[in-house]
Amino acid sequence: MIEVESLYFKYPLANDYVLKNISLKIGLGEVVGIMGGNGSGKTTLIKHFNGLLKPTKGFVKVFGKDTRKESVAYFSKKVGLVFQNPGHQIFSDTVWNEVAFALKNFGFEEEIINKRVKWALEFFNLIQYKDMSPLLLSGGEKKRLCLASVLAWNPDFIILDEPTVGQDFLQKEKLIEIIKMLVTQNKTVIVVSHDVEFIWLLQPRLILISNGIIVKDGDCRSVFKDDSVLEKCGITKPQLVELYEELYPLIERPPVDIVEARSMMLKLLRGLK
């Protein structure tokens, strides 16, 4: 469980708070989306979840432990953060060593390290690059490498900051599959993203942030109905929600994915005959 209570945060020497009076609880087995305009405080918030940033006021607790009272290393085992920019995360000489690094630091046995690294690289279709420098990978491949490195150590909370940037259709499909698989293992996946189509396919609990304040927290269907809040946060609607709004009352709810949209349309158009 991640528990955030009356969290205020400002960067050293700054005058303004970046986060203001944030309170929320995130349990295990949840998929949580966090969206908001540029500079709204999304990344600053998630950096509090593994203790990288400490509250100026209020507190953040992970499994009951206050993030101000333990090291980042302690919380990292439980909360894996995949950064938006792979350049902030990648530093090893080979793709294999990049994934193995954290596992070694956490003191896993050699045999387990080898098994997990192999699993993660195969899963993300990177095994063929195992002896290559990570710097030679494409942008999308680097992104997958970062995800592989974090999943390899099996944290309870996985935070993905803009995971779909640079990812093609097949990788996005895979990402959705991975997130759904993680949830069945009672893990929690927190996704910060601007990609409304991706978020819609995940159907998460959705938190919207504007100017450091949580302006909405609810299931994504209800959040995507709230025009004024979406406007405030610079968020557009997913195409399937738009389709529903254009066609209402011909269809009763927004389709969750393209397969459902197809059967709704077929029913509508064939019903005519």
Binding site: N38, N85, G139, H194, C233, E242, L250, R262, L266
Partner: protein
């Protein structure tokens, strides 16, 4: 009649990086006309970034390798022009703005390129004001880059390139860090530059729903080869696009599914509004 001018041309072009035998681009033949707005897509690692580097001269001048065939930009062979000379013709916005911003304030960063090409002070000031306004970043003018959010950095990087008023503007996932509304506004701004000044635009973008209404040309690359190349409205209809990693917008994918079921529409609709209008017209005769 207005004649089209080829501004970029690849002739029997192949490339592999030094130290690797793998051909990243294989026998590319491609011509892009002045004023085209091109959407370039393909799975990660397919060679998109390499293709772009061949246009602005980073290949072969900064990245060495086996370079076969020719790349011609604005009538001149890229291999015979320096990266500096090409920079005045080809503006490049990188995927990661941190690779691009290095001065101590936003203003200094934007004018850096302009000062380097020796423009007079009035012209520099007027271009500075224009891009600050066009990208909505007037309030960031005196800020140091480290105080900017990633989205703000992206806009500053774009501002520095736009200020150079290049003939060709290449953007590698330019909206990836922008929120959806800002991304849409930004794409419309690029379209405006394309329309007003005849600027040739090449955009690599995975969120193609943003571009289906603005680009006129679409190129799909896979494993270093061109798979599709043509008018966007035609290319995007192809059912196999997702096999090449293309994130086909739901409204397009839906029409393909319905076509498979024998439901044919007069047109292929690129946005939800037009598609819904057609559905309503069929069902209840509402226009």
């Amino acid at each position: 009649m207005e004649t089209l001018t080829e501004i970029i041309k690849f002739i029997n072009f192949s490339f592999s990086y030094s130290g690797s035998n793998a051909l990243i681009l294989k026998n590319i033949n491609l011509s892009i006309e002045e004023g085209d707005f091109v959407l370039l897509v393909g799975p990660s690692g397919c060679g998109k970034s390499t293709l772009l580097r061949c246009i602005n001269g980073l290949i072969p001048h900064l990245y060495s390798g086996v370079y076969e065939g020719e790349v011609i930009v604005d009538g001149e062979l890229v291999k015979n022009k320096s990266v500096n000379e090409l920079a005045t013709k080809v503006g490049f916005v990188f995927q990661n703005p941190e690779n691009q911003i290095f001065m101590f304030s936003v203003e200094k960063d934007i004018v850096f390129g302009l000062e380097n090409i020796g423009l007079d002070r009035n012209e520099i000031d007027s271009r500075l004001e224009w891009v600050l306004h066009a990208l909505g970043i007037e309030h960031l003018r005196y800020k140091p880059p480290y105080e900017l959010s990633d989205g703000q950095k992206q806009r500053v990087a774009i501002a520095g390139v736009l200020a150079m008023k290049p003939k060709i503007l290449i953007l590698d996932e330019p909206t990836s860090l922008l929120d959806p509304r800002t991304a849409l506004e930004f794409i419309l701004l690029i379209k405006e530059l394309n329309r007003k000044f005849g600027l040739t635009i090449i955009v690599v973008e995975h969120r193609i729903d943003l571009l289906t209404n603005v680009a006129n040309r679409m190129i799909v690359l896979d494993k270093g080869e061109i798979i599709f190349n043509g008018c966007l409205k035609e290319v995007i209809k192809n059912k196999n696009l997702n096999l090449y990693g293309v994130n086909v917008p739901p409204v397009i994918a839906l029409q393909n599914y319905l076509k498979d079921e024998g439901l044919i529409f007069n047109e292929f609709y690129l946005n939800v509004k037009d598609f819904s209008k057609e559905i309503k017209r069929r069902l209840i005769g509402i226009d």
